[in-house]
């Protein structure tokens, strides 16, 4: 994989992490209100998959979608401004954290009804297929969504009509607070997908390179007419389901074990692949985050300083986004009424 792609993916992941941690702070101070579902721990999935898509592909996401929008290229300013409910936000302050849309980048929305993304994705894909276009719809969903009827109904239709959809399951093992063995009779999601005659594979969602390769190959298969594809990315969120959830249902040892496999650490190790000594690589054990921080502090390798620069750049982007958001105008009631109905030319009565 070329150095540029590796750098871009790491930059994306660092930006997502910095953005979400800052969002949590802004939530604590009351600048962001409502439900806020954060992404730390899962960055490798967004960065790996979305960097494999082209500009004419579509992204459909759920309510944990800030990172998906950021990786897709929506400026952090607009994402943060939406969280602040400002007129400059992605959705003009009408949607908030769970309902981000960016039509220009074919970012088709964040949806807060679990499983609702599936019918919407196959609908976009249906229109694409009806017109014979080479575009693909990427549908992000969680392991909680696989128990909704819409998931199964949509997989069935996608397979029946060979619709161009890449389903990406971000399996973080928790449906809000219920662990997967307590919510799914068959905890291997990809096995359930096989029932619909859709190729499905399970990959390490903490490894951005594996995610990226799997997504690239799946997208290629779809574009060659192979019909819908499914990848299950095993991942983990470091925080609770939302800011309203302290995550106390998870054993401390489980959280710690997963943090050792931080996707950021895994990605930066890959970037350094051509620079560090074999000894240093071998020295990367379970405590990757600590080792990563040590590298940053030491600054002995050019790559490490680059990474530090990236980290600082990400922080600057986020600082700027917060400043932009807080200086933007509040969304107005006039705008709200304007957005309600689109057919103004047929409008005679309201």
């Amino acid at each position: 994989m070329d150095r540029e792609t590796l750098h871009r993916m790491l930059r994306d992941m660092l930006l997502c992490r910095a953005f979400e941690e800052r969002a949590a702070e802004e939530y604590s101070t009351g600048n962001i209100v409502g439900f806020l579902h954060l992404y730390p721990g899962e960055e490798a999935v967004a960065a790996g998959v979305i960097n494999a898509t082209g500009p004419s592909d579509y992204i459909v996401s759920n309510y944990r979608e800030h990172a998906h929008a950021l990786v897709r290229g929506t400026p952090a300013r607009q994402v943060m401004a939406e969280l602040f409910g400002r007129t400059t936000g992605m959705s003009g302050g009408m949607g908030g954290s769970m309902h981000m849309f960016d039509r220009e980048r074919r970012f088709m929305g964040g949806y807060a009804i679990v499983g609702q993304t599936c019918p919407i994705s196959i609908g976009i894909a249906y229109a694409v297929a009806m017109r014979g276009l080479p575009e693909v719809v990427v549908n992000f969903l969680g392991d909680g969504a696989v128990n909704q009827g819409t998931f199964h109904e949509s997989l069935n239709m996608a397979s029946l009509w060979r619709l161009p959809v890449l389903f990406v399951c971000e399996n973080n093992h928790y449906a809000i607070g219920t662990e997967i063995h307590r919510h799914s009779a068959v905890p291997e999601v990809f096995k359930r997908v096989a029932a619909y005659n859709i190729p499905a594979e399970k990959i390490d969602g903490m490894d951005v390179l594996k995610v990226h390769n799997a997504a690239r190959q799946a997208l290629d298969r779809i574009r060659r007419g192979g019909g819908p594809q499914f990848i299950e990315c095993e991942t983990y969120r470091y925080r609770g389901h939302s800011m309203a959830d302290p995550g106390t249902y998870r054993p401390a040892v489980e959280l710690k074990a997963h943090q050792a496999w931080d996707p950021l650490t895994t990605a930066s190790r890959e970037l350094e692949f051509r620079y560090p000594t074999p000894d240093e690589l071998a020295g990367i054990g379970r405590d990757n985050i600590k080792l990563f921080a040590d590298h940053l502090i030491d600054g002995e390798h050019a790559v490490e300083s680059e990474i530090e620069d990236m980290r600082q750049d990400a922080q600057k982007i986020v600082d700027d986004a917060v400043q932009f958001a807080s200086q933007s105008a509040q969304a107005s009631m006039d705008a709200a009424w304007n957005h309600l109905y689109q057919s103004h030319r047929h409008e005679v009565l309201i």
Binding site: G123, V128, G149, L160
Partner: protein
């Protein structure tokens, strides 16, 4: 140039003309293709336009309606047929949380040119799970529009207009209207989709109704005329929005208001119509506005009981007479 058509044929022509005029129009639903539609509305379209534009779906109401929502987001113009309104309950997430909200939630970035066609109402002894109305639920959803054609001409016009619209529109078709006849003019300019129509002019009272019961109100008005009562019949044609100006003008002329609906009385369309017109026309009314509505009861299978749960033409006549007498008494006092 008009011709006589059945209501289902008018809908069929509207589909055909819309699909011929615009490649982005397609329809999907249970048995709409090969079978031709359970009320024949899509008859012949599968052969003419092929499976991508006339798509038979599995029995998955929420997801195929949601498919329509997704397709509408990228500029297709889907016409989703839900076999009966009873099954629409399964699709309400796609309609309410999806179609009605996405244009708004996105800050106006996306349009929602979605039409959902649904047969409904009380037909002939289909029992509780196949004989109900849901306008009360749908009317309470901001972002939706609801059209309720009562005649073949309106069926043609309103379906064409709904397909052309960039807002999500539910077309409530009454199962007992499919085989009613009427003149349909394909060329004449249609009134706005939400405009109410005065079906019969009168001076003594206003009867506001919609869908099949608007036709019953016309029958009742003919009966009332024999007894010297001239009823004005307003067919709403649209339940969201409602053309209040046409209703209010009529009430201000007749000073008496009778609202007739097939749906259950409690918290139904009639309650909204009564409240708004009373607020607006209070000082014009000679008597309190009256509602004649379906009973708050699941529809029984038994034919006589079924008929007793919804207003019949004779009930409308009786209610109108009573309202006129009450108004006379109030005036005399």
């Amino acid at each position: 140039m008009s011709q006589e058509l059945l209501y289902w044929q008018a809908l069929n022509r509207a589909m055909d003309h819309a699909m011929a005029a615009d490649e982005s129009v397609f329809t999907l639903g249970e048995d709409v293709g090969l079978y031709g539609g359970s009320y024949r509305v899509t008859e012949g379209l599968y052969a003419k336009y092929g499976e991508w534009r006339v798509r038979d779906t599995p029995i998955s109401e929420n997801s195929f309606t949601g498919l329509g929502v997704g397709a509408a987001l990228v500029g297709a113009r889907p016409v989703v047929e839900i076999m009966t309104i009873n099954f629409m309950l399964l699709a309400l997430d796609s309609i309410i949380n999806g179609a009605a909200k996405i244009p708004f939630m996105s800050g106006g970035q996306f349009k929602m040119p979605l039409v959902v066609r649904v047969p409904g109402g009380i037909a002939r002894q289909l029992a509780a799970q196949h004989a109900q109305r849901l306008e009360h639920t749908l009317m309470n959803v901001p972002g939706l529009r609801i059209a309720v054609p009562a005649t073949p001409q309106d069926a043609y016009w309103q379906l064409r207009q709904a397909i052309a619209s960039d807002d999500p529109i539910i077309l409530l078709e009454h199962e007992l209207l499919y085989f009613t006849k009427g003149q349909v003019d394909f060329v004449a300019e249609a009134p706005p989709i939400h405009r109410a129509m005065v079906r019969r002019s009168g001076r003594d009272l206003t009867i506001v109704s919609y869908s099949r019961h608007a036709t019953l109100a016309e029958d009742a008005a003919a009966e009332l005329a024999k007894a010297g009562i001239e009823a004005e019949v307003v067919d709403l044609r649209s339940l969201k929005p409602i053309d209040w100006d046409t209703c209010a003008a009529s009430v201000e002329k007749t000073h008496r208001l009778l609202i007739v609906e097939e749906d259950c009385r409690f918290a139904g369309a009639g309650a909204e119509i009564s409240a708004t017109l009373t607020e607006r026309c209070f000082y014009s009314l000679d008597a309190p506005a009256q509602r004649l509505a379906g009973l708050d009861m699941p529809t029984p299978y038994n034919g006589a009981l079924e008929a007793a749960t919804i207003p019949q033409a004779a009930d409308i006549v009786a209610a109108a007479q009573q309202l006129c007498q009450a108004a006379q008494a109030t005036k005399a006092a």
